[in-house]
Every structure is written in C-alpha cells, then in structure tokens.
C-alpha cells in the first residue's frame, strides 16, 4: 500500500471515520489527480461524511453546496446585492461623478454576494467543496456545474474572469434518485459506497459510540445487518445504527432483547409498513441477532 494512502486512512480514522481501502484510494487519487470525487450509494452510508472528514484531515475549510430542485446559478455562484446597490444610488444621488464611475462603484466586490461555488475558488487555501445530493438538482444545473468544474473559473460580466487561486478539493454525492449525465461522470473519479460489512460496521459503532458494551455492539451490528437483508423500503443506514447504539448506550442497556428492541425501533425504522414487517419478524423470532 502506498504510504500516502495509508496516511489518508490514518488521518480519516483519527477523525473517527472508518475508511476502507476503496475510500482511501479514491480520496488519494482525487487529491493527486486534482479531480472531483463523485460518491454514490444508498442513504446513510457516510458519503457526505467523506468531505467533512477530509476537510478536517487536511485542516482546511469545508464549503457546502446543498442541492435541491430548482437550485440555480445565482444561488450557487454569485449574486449582486441588489438592495445594497439601490441604497448606494439613493445616497449618492446628488454626489458628483459620472454615470460610469457610479456604475463601476456599485458593480464592484463589496456589492457581490458570494455563493458557495465562487467562495470555493477564491479562498487563500484550497478548501473542500462538498456538492451534496447533486441528483436532486435539475439537469440544467448539472450542465452549469460541469462548466465550473472543468475550468474552475467564473466570469462575472461587470468584474471580469475570476480564476481559482487554488483548486478546491471537490466531493459530489448522489443518492441516485436520478441518473447523472455521462459528461459529469467523466469529469469525476467514481466511488460507490455500499452498506458496510459486519466487520466494518462493528468497527464504526465501536469508534463512534462510547460506553458501549462489546457484546452489545456486536448484537446491534448483527441486528442491523439482518434488517438490511429484509429488503425494507427504507433500509436503515449507518447513521441509524449510530443513533440506535447511542440511544441504547444512554439507556445503559447490557444486551438486546425483544422488548428493548420494540421500544427503540423508532431509531431505526422510519416507514410504517417497514415497522409492521419488522415487528412481525420480531414476534416470530426470526431476526437472528436476538437468538443468542
């Protein structure tokens, strides 16, 4: 294993993120090749976490752009502070100066509202730019993003072209509610994160939750793994595992039993139909982690 990759793993583990070789290698490549990293996978497997941990590990700022339907360039890139401009015009109505001068004054940096993308390329130190849930943005926005990601420069008509002083480390995440374009994929390195294996999830639980009995941690993990095999409509992610483990730790539980699981199932299952099915399975004693 390459030293740098091991170091990335260590740094991420120090930030309490359990990174497997695939994650560490992808992050390493993203840093080395200067390409954005596109992370896909089911909800709650720690996609967003990669960017957060990376920014802490690199000791740099995290700039986050949360995508949603209808997100447009002005919200993502920059906007003129229109009320402020109007106020300035009002205040200087009778002041001397040509129209051109006044115009230049109100279309200058102090009147610019920087949005995350512009913010990310104008920092002194390369920040980590997290573009979260890109699949929720519209296709036009994806095309626009493609432009920014390929040049890392932005042209503002009144000011000119702003080129990135330092290219940000870009992490994009997607839950696959929509297929992303091939063009965007090609700009990126790709990483698929699946639900963790038993061993990995156990490590995550032990790293992240304090004061948890060793055996209980294993039981929790085993239970979650068997839940995911049930093909629920909303399978619990690692985030849910941790919520649950913390709740159980707070209750000073020593081991799992049916009653305890029933009482705390709300941490894990957030869909009514799923809840019904899990309760049936519980009643029938078919969930293996409880058998022991």
């Amino acid at each position: 294993m390459r030293d740098e990759i091991r170091r990335i793993r260590e740094l991420m583990e120090r930030e309490a993120y359990v990174a497997d070789p695939a994650i560490a290698t992808s992050v390493h490549l993203a840093l080395q090749l200067g390409k954005p990293l596109l992370v896909e996978g089911p909800a709650g497997v720690g996609k967003t976490e990669i960017a957060k941990v990376l920014s802490r590990a690199l000791d740099t700022e995290l700039i986050r752009l949360q995508c949603y339907e209808g997100l447009d360039a002005s919200t993502a890139l920059y906007e003129w502070n229109y009320p402020k401009q109007l106020l300035r015009i009002k205040l200087e109505e009778s002041a001397p100066g040509t129209v051109a001068e006044k115009e230049a004054a109100i279309f200058s940096e102090p009147f610019l509202l920087r949005r995350p993308l512009l913010e990310a390329i104008t920092r002194e130190r390369a920040p980590v730019l997290l573009i979260d849930e890109i699949d929720r943005a519209d296709e036009e926005f994806e095309a626009f993003l493609l432009e920014v990601l390929s040049d890392f420069q932005v042209t503002i008509p009144e000011i000119g072209t702003i080129r990135a002083t330092h290219r940000p480390h870009v992490v994009l995440t997607s839950n696959r509610t929509r297929e992303l374009s091939d063009a965007l994929r090609r700009r990126c390195l790709y990483l698929w994160i699946d639900y963790p294996s038993f061993e990995k999830e156990l490590r995550i639980v032990r790293t992240k939750v304090e004061g948890l009995d060793e055996r209980l941690a294993a039981q929790i993990t085993g239970f979650l793994q068997s839940l995911r095999r049930m093909d629920l409509s909303r399978a619990p992610g690692v985030a849910e595992t941790l919520d649950w483990a913390r709740a159980l730790a707070a209750l000073h539980a020593a081991h799992l039993d049916e009653a305890l699981v029933r009482e705390t199932l709300g941490c894990l299952i957030k869909d009514e139909g799923d809840l019904r099915r899990v309760e049936e399975e519980l009643a029938a004693g078919r969930l293996e982690a409880l058998a022991g």
């Binding site: 030293d3 740094l11 290698t25 840093l31 090749l33 919200t75 929509r178 790709y190």
Partner: protein
C-alpha cells in the same frame, strides 16, 4: 520508503518508473497538500515496512522478465490493454480517462494489486453497474499476465480471502488482493490482452443491456431499474411548465407588475423584487393494463412498471383487465412490491384468462367518467388480442378520445421486428389513437414521458 541500497533490488523502485520514484522520494509537492493534515504526516521514514511483498522473495519470475526496467511506456500499454478490454465489454472509455488511468498508476503502489485495482476502478468504472465488469476484466488481464502459458484460465475468483477487501462491503466478484508483484511486463503485451477475453459475455454494460432487454425475460431483480425509470417519467411529467404563471419567492423572472406595486411602499424604489414562474402542468395519467393470457409474458413486468409508476407519481389511476375491469390504484399504492402483489392477487380474479378489451374499456369509459379530462393521458397497455366485437372497442376509444388530452396505446409486440398490428381489435383501435408505440423494454417505457408531454 525502502532505504536506498538496502538490497540489490532491481525491480522495486525501478519498476515504478522514474516519475513515480521521484515523487515518492521528494515527498512530493502534491503530497504536501495532505501533509498539512496533522502530526506525523510527513513522509514516514519507515513507510516501506508494510508492503512487505516487495522486500520478500519474489515468488514468480514475471516481474524480472522485462529486465527490471518497466517504464511509463509500458504503463501506457497496460492501460491500453485494460481500456480496450473494457470497451469490448461495453464500458465506454474516453482517451481522457485512459490518460487519467495512466496518471493514477503513477501515484499508487504498483506492487499492491488491490490498490491498483481500486485506483483504476475509480477512474474507469464510472457507475456501480460497471464494477462487476471492471473487476472481471481486471482479473482476467492479471491472470493472463501472470501466467502467459495458460491465458484462458480466469483468475480464481474468491480463491483467497483478501485482507484488504474484507472491509470493503459488497462489491460482487473481486480480484484476489494478496499483495503480489504486478508483472507489468506480461500485462502490457497486447496479445496478453487478446488472450484474456475468453469470457463470452454480452458486449454491453449491464445497464445498457437491461435497457434493451425484452420484458419477457425480466426477473424480479430489475424492479430497481424499473423504479428508476418510473421516477424519471414522473419527474418529467411533474415539472412540465404550463402557460400559467404563479408568484414565487425566488425565481428566474421578475414579476414586474408586483415589483412596481411593492415599490410604492419604498418611495418608488423597487427594493424588494417579486418573482414569477410557470406553474407546473398538472398532467394526470390513467393506465389500463391488459393482464390476459396472451399478455402473460409481459404482464408480470408491466405490473412492476404499474407499481413503480403508482408510487412515483401522485396523479396516476391504474386499472387492469382481462375479461373484467378492476381498479387497482389502492392495491398498488404503498408498501413493498411483494405486498402490493398480494393485495392484487386478492382483488383481481381474472389473471391470464381471456380478453374482452372492448367491453372493459367501455366499462372504464362509462364507470369512471370523471377520471378523464383534457389534462389526462389515457394509456392502454395491451397486445390487442380482443375476443369481443371490434365495434365495441372502437366506440369506447372514440368516446375517450373526445375527452382525454391524449390516448396512447402501448403494445409490447410492436417491439418485435416482424409484427404488424393486424388483429381485428388493433385494426379497430388504430384510427382513434394519438400514439401507437411499443412497450417491450425500459427504453420504450421511458419514451412515455415525451409522448405524454408533447
């Protein structure tokens, strides 16, 4: 980093080529970015300790065959062999990606096979559907490279439990990851690549293949893909703009009149902008699906589609028919697919029986008149084998046509090349349809969004 001169080790550093060696030695300007991270981040002096495989005795003769002088030119041909094999398996690779793959090899430990695999995969397999093909191709190339004598034996999958891969979750078949020297020499030979393509597999990515696959050989596992298509259709239907405007908090267009009116409050200066945008067009869908015997091949899969549409799009009404018409909107809505099927099974009695398309559609037209209006697209999914009177069908369709925004007939048979819509039922229906289109695969279903929208 191995201590320089610790061993007369010709293959180690050299095998990585001058570039790679240099970077690692220097600690590298690139690595510097990461070094900022924290204590102990500098190039660890004992770093070479771990990839022991390199220091240890070399099991195979492979790496030395090239005279311990594998340069970046050879790395290039490795990438060429890999990308060519991938293309042949239907994973498109652009030259830019090939270049990135070569750069990626520069910054990983070439003796660590799993690391090489993960790095190349990050660059070349750009969607999870391609992971399986990638791992296959990678393993095959390796097998060919390591044992030129028996190139057709694929890498023994899962033969070794891999120390690294264990933690990696569920990526299906993967190459064994025991760190072994990577014999670039054999790997790079073009003929090795040729030899390594014995896997008689369709030359298309699973994704592509799925989209073209006829529904008739569809398994339950494809439900995910059907669901994705349904979501795409519903998104497109839900976001189609109408001619009407509405006021919104933020938008791309300024609502001039409202802005000016608000400006009265601020002394004529439009301090607060009002915005407007197009209202979404409220398209509604009525799906009428034939589940009679002649449709048996397709109905299972069309049901998946109905289920997915019902749960992806709010304004869908679904009916199935054979000899009788059943409204199944409620049965399909909510819960997992298996439960929906169970509910369907309880309430629909005439699966795979005869067909009375005309009578059923007439029943729909008479029984649920309020479901159909100008904004409704009525979609009939049927092969048109009607045992009833064609006039009944023609009459019912004509009446629906007058009230509906659009009348669409999707016929699974239309996907097969030789098919002509000659049945009496189909002949009777054709004059009354706005659109007559195939529905035998996902791609044809996906076009539904465009058809309904146009």
């Amino acid at each position: 980093m191995r201590p320089v001169g610790a061993a007369p080790d010709a293959r180690g550093p050299d095998a990585r080529g001058p570039d790679a060696g240099g970077r690692e030695n220097a600690g590298g300007p690139d690595a510097g970015g990461l070094d900022a991270g924290g204590p102990g981040a500098g190039t660890a002096p004992d770093g070479g300790g771990a990839p022991d495989a390199s220091g240890g005795p070399d099991p195979g003769g492979g790496p030395n065959r090239a005279g311990a002088d594998v340069r970046s030119a050879d790395l290039t041909s490795v990438v060429v062999a890999l990308t060519r094999a991938l293309r042949e398996r239907g994973v498109p690779i652009t030259p830019a990606e090939s270049a990135d793959a070569a750069r990626a090899l520069d910054v990983v430990d070439l003796r660590d096979r799993d690391e090489v695999r993960l790095a190349l995969r990050a660059v070349l397999a750009l969607r999870v559907e391609n992971y399986v093909v990638f791992d296959d191709v990678f393993a095959a190339l390796f097998a060919a490279a390591e044992d030129p004598g028996a190139p057709r034996v694929p890498w023994p999958r899962g033969a070794h439990a891999s120390a690294h891969a264990e933690a990696e979750g569920a990526t299906p078949p993967r190459a064994a990851a025991t760190p072994r020297p990577l014999s670039l020499a054999g790997w790079a030979r073009p003929e090795a690549a040729d030899d390594a393509e014995p896997l008689g597999v369709p030359a298309m990515s699973p994704h592509e293949a799925l989209r073209r696959k006829d529904f008739s050989d569809f398994g339950a596992a494809e439900l995910d893909e059907v669901t994705r298509v349904a979501r795409r259709i519903s998104r497109r239907l839900a976001t189609r703009p109408s001619r009407r405007w509405k006021v919104v908090a933020r938008g791309a267009r300024v609502h001039t009149r409202r802005t000016l009116r608000q400006a009265l409050r601020t002394g004529g200066d439009p301090l607060v902008l009002a915005f407007r945008e197009r209202k979404p067009r409220r398209t509604k869908l009525v799906l009428l699906c034939d589940v009679s015997g002649s449709m048996e091949l397709y109905s299972r899969f069309l049901l998946q589609f109905l289920y997915a549409m019902q749960n992806a799009f709010a304004r869908v009404e679904t009916f199935v028919f054979g000899t009788r018409l059943s409204r199944v909107t409620g049965e399909l809505r909510g819960g997992p697919y298996a439960e929906a099927l169970e509910r369907l099974g309880r309430s629909v009695r005439d699966w795979s029986g005869g067909t009375r398309i005309g009578a059923c559609i007439a029943e729909f037209e008479a029984g649920w008149p309020r479901l159909v209006d100008r904004r409704t697209a009525v979609v009939v999914l049927s092969d048109g084998w009607d045992t009833g009177e064609p006039d009944v069908l023609a009459g019912a369709l004509a009446r629906i046509r007058r009230r509906a925004g659009k009348l669409i007939w999707l016929n699974p048979l239309l996907g097969s090349p030789g098919y002509r819509p000659l049945t009496r039922g189909m002949q009777a229906a054709l004059p009354h349809l706005d659109v007559f289109a195939p529905a035998h695969d996902l791609a044809s279903l996906e076009r539904l969004a465009h058809i309904v929208g146009s």
